[in-house]
């Protein structure tokens, strides 16, 4: 167990170093950092001096070590377009993205599990068939189209919900939250649905497949023979066993929820990290792109590591196969 945890941790650090090298090469070699700082008529001598002061004349490994050291302290340089430190920009935008991602995940899990259980238990009803059709459409429709459709319906035609922004936010320390004001909550509804829809269809299909499989097993048959109520069998035994893979998938998917927030945030002009990243790509703002890559990778790798380790804790069958020498 300890050996497995250690091995996975070392792998995760390896991935982070690889991403760090990519991020550094982007930062250093894609476009000259000096050109972004100086104006056209800056004399060559001054350019050389800036080059020196930024440490761009040092050997590349030394520069990489410095970049990595700075990144560890969340120092990512200065944004070309905003002329502000990237770290403070990211810190300012992070609460918006995390709130959106968490709401979307909760929404996806609640509705995905409910719809999945229903369509597994009542397989041939028309409602279950509608759920299946909706899940196919949810997988096929691009995220931004769903967002535009929702905006047209609820903002343009009905005028119920705001089409852009976060609404009013409340500041708690450096964190800003839209969960405490009515306009903030209203602004959160459509982006969360848009972002969560894909995960919801995924979870629904998974729950349905797992439930159908579990319902065929012997212990369910035995539970029926013991005379337990259908409700106790379905929810006490079957659903409980379904939830382990569901939570794993939802956990692993949280990383891609944050990445897909890029699209949702653009559609709804949601002031999060994703919108910042898209603007950085459009304006070739390399420091923000490099920093975003590092931050998102860190979140991804951490989630993967935690889920992998938790999985062996939750499921003892996995542990025995892992400890066996390969």
């Amino acid at each position: 167990m300890l050996a497995f945890t250690l091995r996975r941790a070392i792998q995760a650090i390896g991935v982070m170093i690889a991403v760090g090298i990519i991020s550094f090469s982007m930062f250093r070699f894609a476009g000259d950092p000096v050109n972004q700082i100086v104006s056209l008529d800056t004399p060559a001598a001054e350019r050389a001096q800036i080059r020196q002061s930024l440490g761009l004349d040092d050997p590349v490994p030394l520069q990489f070590a410095r970049y990595f050291g700075d990144a560890m302290q969340f120092k990512f340089g200065v944004s070309y377009q905003f002329r502000q430190p990237v770290s403070s920009l990211l810190k300012e935008r992070m609460p918006a993205t995390l709130e959106l991602a968490i709401c979307a995940t909760i929404l996806a899990m609640v509705f995905g599990i409910l719809m999945g259980v229903y369509s597994a238990l009542k397989r041939d009803t028309w409602l279950a068939k509608i759920f299946q059709a909706v899940s196919l459409i949810g997988i096929s429709l691009p995220t931004f189209l769903i967002g535009i459709l929702l905006i047209y319906l609820f903002s343009v035609v009905l005028g119920w919900l705001p089409s852009f922004g976060r609404g009013e936010v409340v500041r708690i320390g450096w964190w800003t939250t839209g969960l405490l004001t009515i306009s903030g909550l209203k602004a959160l509804i459509m982006p969360s649905i848009t972002l969560g829809l894909f995960q919801m269809t995924l979870i629904m299909r998974l729950v349905r497949a797992e439930m159908l499989e579990v319902l065929r097993t012997d212990y369910i048959r035995f539970a029926r023979a013991r005379g337990l109520t259908t409700r106790a069998i379905h929810f006490g035994h079957a659903l409980k066993n379904t939830l382990v893979p569901v939570i794993t998938v939802a956990g692993l998917q949280f990383g891609s929820v944050i990445a897909f927030a890029i699209i949702t945030e653009t559609v709804f002009q949601w002031p999060g990290m994703g919108l910042l990243f898209v603007q950085a790509v459009q304006n070739v703002d390399i420091p923000i792109m490099a920093a975003y890559l590092l931050m998102v990778s860190l979140i991804f790798v951490t989630i993967n590591l935690v889920v992998d380790i938790l999985y062996t804790v939750v499921d003892p069958r996995l542990r025995s196969t892992l400890n066996r020498p390969a």
Binding site: V15, A18, V19, M26, A30, G31, L136, I137, I139, S140, L141, P142, T143, F144, L145, I148, L149, I151, Y152, S155, V156, S163, G255, S256, A259, F260, I262, I263, T266, V267, F277, V278, A280, V281, Q282, N283, V284, I286, M289, L293, V296, S297, F300, V301, N304
Partner: protein, 324 residues
């Protein structure tokens, strides 16, 4: 599905004419796959829709009333005309026009052409890259295999859209922000290709590992065939089924990715719009009540992707011997 089994009646006395087109066609008609195709109405509709979209894209220059890429043919006087069946509709503009006087129907046809071109080229590029790397990893093994598969593992952790956006941004910064439309198209194909190769590589590697130990590979090695020939002519055909399924589903994914990149403003420019660009332009006019500028390109994109996805789903089931 069990009744769907139709044995191919092999005639042992027939001469071996494998590459004759007529014979090949006859085999295709008699095959299980074609039989299951004819039994599924939904699949036939999906196939018809997909073929229709390809035909529309190919014949865009004949069907369109104007060339939307040519600014000289656009007249501002014709801007923001509603579709033809509404009260404000005007004769040649079937689905209305946008703010530059661009006919929405013509723009969709030409945009479809761009979207399908990027999608198909992206799939070809990622498929070739993935197959070659998968063959090398599976056949050579050892450290090469380890390296390729580790890169694949790491890349699989990140969503393709993020990788495509990053590649796009880096290429832009290297070549400067002023890329012309055709080079943007090449960059998009490149970015999509590099984002989707992993699945092919993993599948091919798995098949190669299985096939490598078969007698026919040993026989081919014994008669002295070089490794690339064995891989391409003998091992690869046995892995074609799953590759075809991945390619179909990835075509839908590549089209979505291109549309998303264009929608985010990191793809095709306004002067040479793909479906995603058209949706981004139209999105700005949603609040002014000009719904047709965004609705029709959006509908075309959704229908195209749904049709290809349905085809992919069917192909996966039809080629899976476990489900027969």
């Amino acid at each position: 599905m069990s009744e769907a089994v139709v044995q191919y009646k092999a005639d042992p006395s027939a001469p071996r004419t494998r590459f004759l087109p007529g014979r090949w066609f006859g085999r295709a008609i008699e095959s299980d796959v074609f039989y299951s195709f004819r039994r599924s109405k939904l699949t036939m509709v999906a196939a018809a829709v997909t073929v229709l979209f390809f035909l529309l894209a190919i014949s865009a220059s004949i069907l369109a009333v104007q060339n939307p890429f040519d600014p000289a043919q656009l007249q501002l006087m014709n801007s923001r005309i509603a579709p033809i069946w509404t009260a404000d509709g005007q004769s040649p503009f079937l689905l209305g026009t946008d703010e530059q006087g661009r006919d929405v129907f013509s723009a969709i046809l030409y945009g479809l052409r761009i979207s399908l071109t990027v999608g198909v080229l992206g799939v070809l590029f990622s498929g070739t890259l993935g197959i070659v790397l998968g063959l090398i990893a599976g056949y050579v093994g050892g450290a090469v295999d380890g390296l390729i598969m580790r890169i694949a593992d790491v890349q699989l952790t990140f969503p393709a859209i993020l990788i495509a956006l990053l590649i796009n941004g880096v290429v832009k910064s290297v070549f400067g922000n002023r890329l012309d439309a055709m080079s943007t198209l090449v960059v998009l194909v490149f970015a999509i290709g590099l984002s989707f190769w992993v699945q092919y590589a993993r599948t091919v590697r798995g098949s190669v590992m299985v096939e490598k130990s078969r007698d026919y590979v040993a026989a081919a090695q014994l008669i002295g065939l070089p490794a690339p020939v064995i891989m391409l002519r003998h091992v690869l055909p046995n892995a074609m089924g799953p590759i075809l399924v991945i390619a179909t589903i990835n075509l839908a994914l590549a089209i979505i990715t291109e549309a998303t990149l264009s929608f985010l403003g990191a793809g095709m420019p306004d002067t040479m719009p793909s479906l995603g660009t058209l949706i981004r332009i139209g999105n700005n006019y949603l609040f002014a009540g000009e719904w047709w500028i965004v609705a029709f390109p959006g509908f075309a994109l959704a229908a195209l992707i749904l049709a290809i996805n349905l085809l992919g789903d069917w192909l996966r089931d039809a080629l899976n011997p476990k489900l027969r």
